[in-house]
């Protein structure tokens, strides 16, 4: 496992931690947002906050695809799924996400034909083998999964399949980051940029964060040392008075992203004028819908979708958690009324959700470096 040791070496982590401490100006506080739910998971799993000085606080961003789906869209999906001719297909992550009237799991128990799939291509296969049924794929996710959905639609079109469509809920990360930057209660000093989204969009789309908002962003890998190193790079920029986009995850993220994936998305999908995000409200041009040319594969064009807006439950503070204003455990219902088994809010559903990660790894105290090891 020599490859792995390179990214896990506790000695290296301690060295980085002390360099991080040296870069902190006395008396100054630093708040960084990790945009991606995968990073949130690594941070909690490895207790990375324990390696950081008190001056550095990490807050968790909106980069969990399941967490940002509003209740109304879940209800819309359910309305489609309940039609007798429909087979609804969805990633497993989505099954327990509560809408206003229960989740996919509840609807399935009540008789709707809802099937879990690993890939949109599995949904396509179900369509091929069930020519007398209408197969709908619940498309969710950021730019990491949008190209896969788009490519699947192209495949369906090439095969001439007429019983396959997508209920498109794909969202884009940049407008969400901008909404957070424009939010009056944000006090961020910089961003740990998402890893896998960036493999698709590259690093350029983040340049406005540095240019217009004067905040540094570092695209980061998912290893504990990647994240510590990214924090070090952010602090280095701040110490130098710089605000730039840097790429720590060069071994996977190309600066220009994946051109083919971007082409496929824009061939099949276009930006919606606006889209509702759970907890964040309506954000302009923040999500994708199917282009007119692919209306035959658009579940919203094919079926009557109620489009009812459902307010988030009053007790739920996912919005504040997604904006990084609240830590998961500061939510009123965290761990009591809201648990991974019976989630009220989406942040508790997905393993990438900040609340679920926090709940599962139970990080309630910031222990000091000496007491912890990076395992």
């Amino acid at each position: 496992m020599r490859f792995v040791d390179e990214y896990r070496d506790a000695e290296k982590a301690k060295r980085l931690a002390s360099q991080i401490r040296e870069l902190c100006e006395p008396g100054r506080k630093y708040t960084f947002m990790e945009v991606c739910g995968g990073h949130t998971h690594t941070i909690y799993k490895h207790g990375l906050e324990d390696y950081l000085p008190e001056a550095v606080t990490l807050v968790h961003g909106p980069g969990c695809p399941v967490c940002v789906i509003p209740m109304g869209r879940v209800d819309d999906a359910m309305a489609i799924a309940r039609r007798p001719e429909v087979i609804m297909t969805s990633f497993g992550d989505m099954m327990r996400v509560p809408g206003g009237k229960g989740s996919f799991l509840d609807a399935k128990a009540a008789g709707a034909d809802i099937r879990m799939v690993y890939s949109p291509l599995d949904a396509l296969k179900i369509a091929r083998t069930n020519p007398d049924r209408m197969v709908v794929f619940m498309g969710i996710g950021f730019e990491t999964t949008a190209p896969s959905t788009a490519m699947t639609v192209l495949r369906a079109a090439a095969e001439g399949l007429t019983n396959f469509s997508v209920f498109c809920n794909h969202v884009t990360i940049i407008p969400a980051i901008k909404a957070i930057l424009d939010s009056p209660d944000q006090r961020l000093d910089g961003f740990i940029g998402p890893g896998h989204v960036s493999t698709v969009i590259g690093c350029r789309p983040y340049e406005f964060i540095a240019g217009t908002y004067g905040k540094p962003l570092v695209c980061a890998g998912f290893e504990p040392l990647d994240i510590l190193q990214s924090i070090h790079m952010l602090l280095r920029q701040l110490a130098d008075g710089r605000a730039e986009v840097e790429n720590q995850y060069t071994r996977v993220v190309p600066w220009d992203g994946n051109r083919r994936a971007l082409e496929v998305i824009s061939q099949v999908m276009e930006l919606r004028p606006y889209f509702e995000w759970r907890g964040l409200g309506f954000i302009s041009r923040s999500a994708l819908r199917m282009r007119e040319a692919y209306a035959a594969y658009d579940a919203e064009a094919r079926f009557d979708v109620p489009g009812v807006r459902v307010a988030d439950p009053l007790a739920c503070q996912c919005g504040e958690v997604l904006k990084g204003v609240l830590k998961p455990w500061e939510c009123k219902v965290f761990g009591t009324a809201c648990t991974p088994e019976t989630p009220i809010g989406t942040c508790m559903v997905s393993s990438e959700g900040a609340c679920a990660a926090y709940y599962n790894f139970g990080r309630f105290t910031r222990r000091r470096l000496e007491e912890t090891s990076l395992t």
Partner: protein, 90 residues
């Protein structure tokens, strides 16, 4: 869903545009490689697989590190692997 799972390309599936067999910790499944465009995927290459699609080429060291990280995730990784094992892309 957002977990990228490393897999080694075993073969390009004959007669199937853009499909390849990939080995993910012993599980062999078909995936789509069309999003890698003209990067030229060959048997022996390592790729990060998201929801049945190869999204980026990686080297073997990165693959090993990512696998170890994923294994450490526990349930989330097991769920993803089980989902992959259920997958039957053609």
């Amino acid at each position: 869903m957002c977990l990228g799972i490393p897999g080694e390309i075993v073969e390009l599936i004959p007669g199937q545009t853009d499909l390849a067999t990939v080995d993910v910790v012993g599980v062999r499944r078909a995936i789509h490689i069309g999003l890698l465009g003209d990067q030229g995927v060959r048997p022996g290459d390592w790729v990060l697989v998201h929801v049945g699609f190869a999204m980026s080429k990686i080297d073997e060291a990165e693959a090993a590190a990512t696998l170890a990280l994923l294994t450490g995730l526990g349930q989330a990784y097991t769920d993803e692997l089980e989902a992959l094992a259920e997958s039957d892309i053609t």
